[in-house]
């Protein structure tokens, strides 16, 4: 096996280097909210795609939660068949322009790329993004609508990645799909959470419009569990099945003194104000966000990086990121860590706050922190941070953003009879099908797992869609033999 792999690598005698995407200069980009990388040119894309070894047993595909046929689409790009490449991706992944930008490729497809053994792996993410952008800009998104409506209604709750993926499959199979969203804009975390400079909202909008053209109906301002219950969706609105993709929207706090001071935000609130409510365009937009002089963000994930980079763009003199472990344990995407470093985000590793200190007006002014050392690995496999109690010191900050994770919102489990959920709110499902404890109710994505990734949520949405299709087809056969 090993010799075979090596022989495949040897085919590339004069290896083409991994192509880099041109991007906005860090000094310029921290003054705007526009997207950082510009994307590949056609020539760069062809060159990069040609690096693919076209392995017979492509391991990259195994690393992809939705099994995008990677070598196939890379081959099409290398031949300049960009639209064909996009369609090849879209058959497995309904949100390619989004996944190309936000997937943790280095832990998935690119991690397993054979080229990575000796050189750098193929830029699969950048190429996915390229193909999807090419397709969108060409205006030639292929709409393969279903000509055989099945006459059955499926409700999809929430409009984030899990829901969009489920809705996309269900509508193509002929179901009448209605997506219910609590907020005034569709997209879930893609809209309220991920900043414009990392995922332009025009792209999310284009993906939603694509689903609308397929026939998906979006109903905003509908808080399922409050505006209408699961029970009523079945009994009164005539839905045959329901998919719950409500994500993990309940912010965790540290539980330390000073957390309710003015200037302390959950990352959800900070990012929602900035992204969904466009606080960076205040006062053109009504919603403000406190523009700190020194902003300290707590946490080491993508949400934390997004917050710290947003703070710079909102005019912070200093944007600090405090993480209780070291750089190696950061769960954030490598690209984003590097972007944040280039932009001047100051990283304070092995640092954990114990208190937020306020001024006489009740506004945050500093963080009291402890130094940590790394002990034995914990259940996540990362080395557990151990506090050094003697090491307290203060860091000045007038805005503090708590980005230490989210749990699923309990609204639907708490208002739905017979729907089992865990203590932290995650809906209990059969992982193979997304089936919950209630008949014809399915769930997937962060609403089940707690905060994870866009692509895992999409994968779960697609699995549930398939299970819904099987179940409803079976019911039809029983009714109409």
């Amino acid at each position: 096996m090993k010799t075979k792999r090596q022989s495949e690598i040897k085919k590339t005698k004069t290896p083409i280097p991994r192509q880099r995407m041109a991007e906005q200069d860090p000094k310029t980009r921290i003054k705007n909210f526009e997207e950082v990388p510009f994307g590949f040119t056609e020539e760069e894309a062809k060159l990069e795609a040609a690096r693919c070894l076209q392995c017979k047993n492509p391991r990259c595909v195994e690393g992809c939660p939705v099994q995008v046929p990677i070598p196939k689409f890379l081959n099409l790009i290398s031949k300049g068949l960009f639209l064909e490449a996009a369609r090849e991706i879209r058959a497995q992944n309904v949100l390619p322009a989004i996944c190309g930008r936000v997937c943790p490729q280095e832990d998935q497809c690119e991690k397993l790329c054979l080229l990575g053994n000796r050189f750098k792996p193929v830029s699969i993410g950048y190429l996915e993004r390229f193909a999807a952008d090419y397709e969108r800009k060409s205006g030639q998104i292929l709409i393969s609508g279903n000509n055989h409506p099945l006459g059955k209604k499926v409700a999809v709750i929430g409009s984030g990645p899990a829901s969009l993926a489920a809705a996309g499959d269900l509508v193509r199979w002929g179901y009448e799909v209605t997506v219910f969203e609590a907020l005034h804009e569709p997209g879930g975390v893609l809209t309220y959470g991920i900043p414009e400079f990392r995922l332009p909202k025009a792209i999310v909008k284009a993906e939603v419009e694509f689903l609308q053209r397929l026939g998906v109906n979006f109903q905003m301002d509908t808080v399922v569990g409050r505006t209408i219950s699961i029970e009523e969706l079945f009994q009164e609105e005539g839905f045959s099945a329901i998919f719950i993709g409500t994500g993990a929207g309940l912010p965790r706090f540290l539980g330390i003194p000073g957390e309710n001071l003015v200037g302390v935000y959950s990352a959800n609130e900070y990012l929602t104000r900035a992204n969904l409510m466009k606080a960076y365009k205040f006062p053109e937009y009504d919603t403000p966000v406190i523009r700190g002089r020194v902003v300290a963000t707590l946490g080491g994930g993508n949400v934390s990086i997004d917050s710290a980079r947003t703070a710079l763009r909102l005019g912070a003199e200093k944007s600090l990121l405090l993480y209780r472990r070291s750089r190696d344990e950061m769960p954030a995407r490598t690209d984003e860590i590097e972007h944040a470093e280039a932009e001047g985000v100051e990283f304070h590793f092995l640092t954990s706050p114990v208190e937020i200190l306020g001024d006489s007006k009740g506004r945050a002014r500093a963080l009291r922190c402890q130094k940590m050392t790394l002990g034995e690995p914990d259940e996540s496999g990362r080395r557990r941070p151990v506090p050094d109690k003697e090491s307290e010191f203060d860091i000045e900050a007038d805005v503090v953003i708590v980005a230490i994770g989210n749990d699923p919102n309990k609204l639907i489990p708490s208002t739905t009879l017979g729907l089992s959920s865990q203590n932290k709110g995650g809906i209990v499902v059969d992982p193979k099908t997304g089936r919950t404890s209630r008949k014809n109710v399915y769930a997937g994505g962060d609403a089940v797992t707690g905060a994870a990734t866009v692509i895992l949520a999409m994968g779960a949405g697609r699995k549930a869609a398939e299970a819904i299709h099987q179940e409803l087809s079976r019911e039809s056969k029983i009714l109409f033999p």
Partner: protein, 277 residues
């Protein structure tokens, strides 16, 4: 989605009420719940208490005091206009138990929020005493409606132009001092008034609820901007509330958080005014 304004009634120079078409919300809402509204694409999301509903018409009633840019803009709308977004009913409904004698204290626009609760408490079998206050007689709202659901109604105005001259919380204190047996108090109004009401009932240990109206964004538990310390525990007013035990709420912390954007609000209102025609 768009929600049609079916009726608008001006109550005073700074207060008005609206009937808004929202059939699903009307069907589901219970006393104590609220909606979040947004008026236009650049608008903010603000919470407003649901005061009444009309099931046959599928509408809800909202009482509004002009306090900033959004409420002022809403005040400029008339019947036939639309509100871009109305989401709800949000929050945990008021627990309408039969306590015995329940006192409903409302101050200013808070009278609108106390009215459906007074009505609900009456329907639950309580003897209901209503205490309502305003700065002056013209700003006293829903008096007849309150009289209709209360066994006894007392009014206070700051300038004495109607009823007792002074604060509505003084009426509450007088009531307690007179030896009236009170089993439950709910107070809704400006923060200092709710704090004062909780202070008045504390010595006698009367169960006292207050309904908080902190700054919110989504209103469904996602942002945590509405968090408030209650008995040392952090609660989200939008999902855990808006009603909490008045004896346990950290009013100081809440009042500071309510003022967090004061400078920005001025900027927003001014820029609105300075937009050239």
């Amino acid at each position: 989605m768009r929600f049609k304004i079916l009726k608008k009634v001006t109550l005073s120079d700074s207060t008005f009420w609206l009937k808004v078409e929202a059939a699903r919300i009307a069907k589901k809402c219970r006393p104590g719940q609220f909606v979040i509204i947004r008026l236009n694409d650049t608008g903010e999301r603000i919470p407003l208490t649901i005061v009444d509903r009309d099931l046959s018409e599928g509408s809800i009633a909202l009482y509004v005091k002009i306090a900033g840019k959004t409420t002022a803009l809403l005040g400029s709308k008339s019947a036939g206009d639309e509100i871009l977004d109305v989401a709800g009913p949000l929050g945990t409904p008021s627990p309408l138990e039969n306590y015995g004698t329940a006192v409903c204290v409302g101050g200013g626009i808070g009278v609108a929020a106390i009215y459906p609760i007074a009505k609900g408490l009456k329907e639950a079998g309580n003897r209901v005493i209503g205490l309502i206050g305003a700065d002056r007689a013209q700003h006293c709202i829903l008096e007849e409606e309150m009289r209709g659901v209360c066994d006894k109604l007392l009014i206070a105005t700051d300038d004495g132009s109607k009823g007792h001259r002074g604060f509505v919380t003084e009426l509450l204190k007088n009531l307690i001092d007179s030896g009236e047996k009170i089993d439950y108090v709910i107070a809704i109004g400006p923060l200092p008034m709710m704090k004062a009401a909780a202070n008045v009932t504390k010595p006698s240990g009367i169960k006292t609820s207050v309904s908080l109206n902190p700054i919110m964004v989504d209103g469904s538990g996602m942002c945590g901007g509405c968090r408030v310390s209650v008995g040392g525990e952090t609660k989200f007013a939008c999902v855990d509330g808006p009603e909490f035990d008045g004896h346990k709420v950290d009013f100081e912390g809440l009042s500071r958080r309510l003022a967090a954007y004061r400078d920005y609000e001025e900027a927003a209102t001014n820029s609105c005014r300075s937009i050239p025609r």
